[in-house]
Amino acid sequence: MNDLNFTGKPIEAREPAASQLSINRVVEWVKRNLFNSWFDSIITLLIILLLGTVLPKALDWLFFSATFSGAGRADCSPDAACWIPIRQYIDYYIYGPFPESEQWRVNSAFAVGLFAFPLLFTQRIPQKIVIGYILFLPVLLWVLLKGGFIFEDISTSALGGLTLTFFLGIIAMCLSLPVSILLALGRQTKLPILRWICVGYIELVRCIPVITFLFMASLVLQLFLPGGVSIDVLFRVLFVLIFVSAVYKAEIIRGAIQAVPKGQIEASYAMGCGYWKTMAYVVMPQALRNSVPALISNFIGLFKETTLVMILGLLEVMGAVKATFNNAEWLGLHAEGPIVVSAFFFVACFSIAQYGAYLERRIRRTKH
């Protein structure tokens, strides 16, 4: 069979005659895509067998036999999932120990943060406004979640659960962008010492696990500061996330800068623009636009990486879930927590990834 398909897409039945019954077309499709050869048939049957045995059991454990409501541990059946603690603690998972009267601030912070995504989507709004919004976003989130300006100040220990994950993810993302642009430019500059420092920094940070940097921040960063000065652990962690993820972003942006045609840069220099003007008005606008999809997948990585702060004892969403399952009443339930956390991350990251893929397709379309 000489089909040309090697993209993994199902093959549509060719030349579907209008007179054919639709059932025939289904049979044709099944034949082509499931039972194309004897080997294919065996694989298909094996998969069906496997799904047939595993899926009903899993669904039964997760939903049909599971306990969703009740007062305490006694209501749970031992052979199926027990979702009572999740329901009891759901507010804690989302808002952490944030003061209840101020929770509208968390809600609006979520709204403000999520608004950045559709902003990347529309083409009508000029790029300046989008970049301005992204630069302004950390300030806005800071004011909403941490306080200051007209809002009451909230202690950093009141940030927890999803709020903390969100706070760390978005702020580290936005603030690492400028750092990464400088690093990318530094890596390509003609000044040798500057370049070596940037290259050394980027290569070194890429080789060392983030978790050791986080431990450094949590354990010893304070020792390096002058006596009496102390930085909150949350900000030290944020600092690490910014300066580590900037390295990965710098590589993305460097690639995008290299993709900008050399002729444009030379033309800009020939017109009398200096280095910074050329970068700001000719190179960066194109490079940034083209690196948006890669930056979005970088954001997904960063968002997932925020779970590591749990190891330091900070209660982000996974830490919060774990802490509540340490309650005397719920000790011994150990599958429910990870399942809920992974479901949350899957939904969040998958939708962002789909959005990134869409943007990439659009950029490609506009190029050709």
């Binding site: 089909d3 040309l4 993994g8 060392i208 050791t212 990870p338 992974s342 991350f345």
Partner: protein, 377 residues
């Protein structure tokens, strides 16, 4: 004077010098702060602790580690070896799984490619730490030692890990050395005297077999196979891989493979579709076109991103301490740090160790990449 500063070279040099001075001053300032703070707080410093007795047990170690006598330095070695063992196995699995998932995804069997799609999307959208926890919870649902899965009476899978038969060398030192010297001498002689490559190889194989046979006759049994047996609380004999190790490898390699398979798929799809069509039009079989035309070209763009995936695999060993796998972060950055309280030194050692391992890995992959690129042209 003014023109001196407007000279481009002078200005560049000045900017760099100022920048360098700032960096150096910043580093100095931090180190000085640390020194004053530590002496004020009465903390000890220095690397003397490396030679003190560690006094804690390492649950799984490939080198000899005895909690009664071993030092912190030995704990570091044990952690380093564990990290390396993990990295080698996990990188291998990552490569194989990435290929498998990519091939599945590119298959025209609708079910197979959908399964691959689901697996990949789940794996790459959930944090690695969650994966590790989930797999660890799963490992605990394996049967206990007494009800272990019996894999053909030689291997057992239980929640204590995978027990495999192992090869035991009962060699005595001096005869072995004599034999090895003899063998090396023979090889050297043949290198000189036998010009033909094919015959030399044959001769070498022959002598090696003879030597091994005579050795096993002289000191029989040189090699014996040790099969795991249940004694008391645990399996004894054989070779038991602890579940932490296995589950960490499974979690990390499936997570990395989900990224790797996308890299491979992307690279294969990036090779223009026309090449496949041209090959098929020439009457060449599909898998031959794939192996001879598409994959060699795709390999160029696969290696660099795969290198960074491999580096991430190695770095993920540091997360093993969450489930009790003792890598460098678990020994030096965990138990040693807690017992000695010397946080700066311990974390520094961990960072340097990981940096060193990864630079080596990057260098090896770089050479591999170069070799591939040359062959392609």
């Amino acid at each position: 004077m003014q023109s001196f500063f407007y000279n481009r070279k002078v200005r560049d040099a000045l900017i760099q010098l100022i920048f360098l001075a700032c960096v150096c001053y910043g580093a100095m300032y931090l180190v000085m702060n640390a020194a004053t703070n530590m002496s004020n707080a009465g903390l000890t410093s220095g690397f003397d602790f490396l030679f003190q007795r560690a006094g804690y047990d390492i649950s799984y170690s490939l080198v000899h580690y005895d909690p009664k006598t071993s030092t912190h330095l030995m704990a570091w070695v044990a952690g380093m070896v564990n990290t390396l063992a993990f990295a080698v196995v996990a990188i291998l699995f990552t490569t194989v799984l990435s290929l498998l998932l990519a091939v599945m995804r590119l298959s025209h069997n609708f079910l197979l490619s959908s399964v691959s799609l689901c697996v990949v999307e789940y794996m790459r959208n959930v944090p690695i730490l969650v994966h590790i926890t989930v797999w660890y919870v799963f490992s605990l649902t394996l049967p206990s030692v007494r009800q272990a899965f019996n894999l053909g009476d030689v291997s057992y899978l239980s929640n204590r890990g995978l027990s495999l038969p192992s090869v035991v060398w009962n060699y005595s030192l001096w005869p072995s050395i004599v034999l090895i010297v003899l063998w090396l001498g023979l090889c050297f002689l043949m290198q000189k005297k036998v010009p033909s490559k094919g015959r030399r190889r044959l001769l070498m194989l022959f002598t090696t077999v003879i030597l091994i046979l005579s050795a096993s006759l002289m000191f029989s049994p040189v090699v014996s196979i040790s099969v795991p047996q249940l004694v008391g609380f645990n399996f004894k004999y054989g070779w038991t891989l602890p579940p932490e190790f296995i589950m960490l490898i499974v979690a990390v390699s499936t997570y990395s493979a989900s990224h790797g398979s996308e890299v491979i798929r992307g690279s294969i799809l990036a090779v223009s579709k026309g090449q496949m069509e041209a090959g098929l039009a020439l009457g060449v079989k599909r898998n031959i076109v794939m192996n001879r035309v598409i994959i060699p070209q795709a390999l160029h763009s696969i290696i660099p991103p795969m290198t960074s995936i491999y580096i991430n695999v190695l770095k993920a060993a540091a997360l093993g301490s969450v489930v009790g796998f003792m890598d460098i972060m678990g020994t030096m950055g965990g138990s040693s740090l807690n017992i000695t309280g010397q946080a700066i030194e311990c974390i520094l050692i961990v960072m340097v160790s990981y940096g060193f391992l990864n630079l080596i890995l990057a260098a090896v992959m770089g050479r591999f990449n170069n070799a591939m690129q040359l062959k392609g042209r």
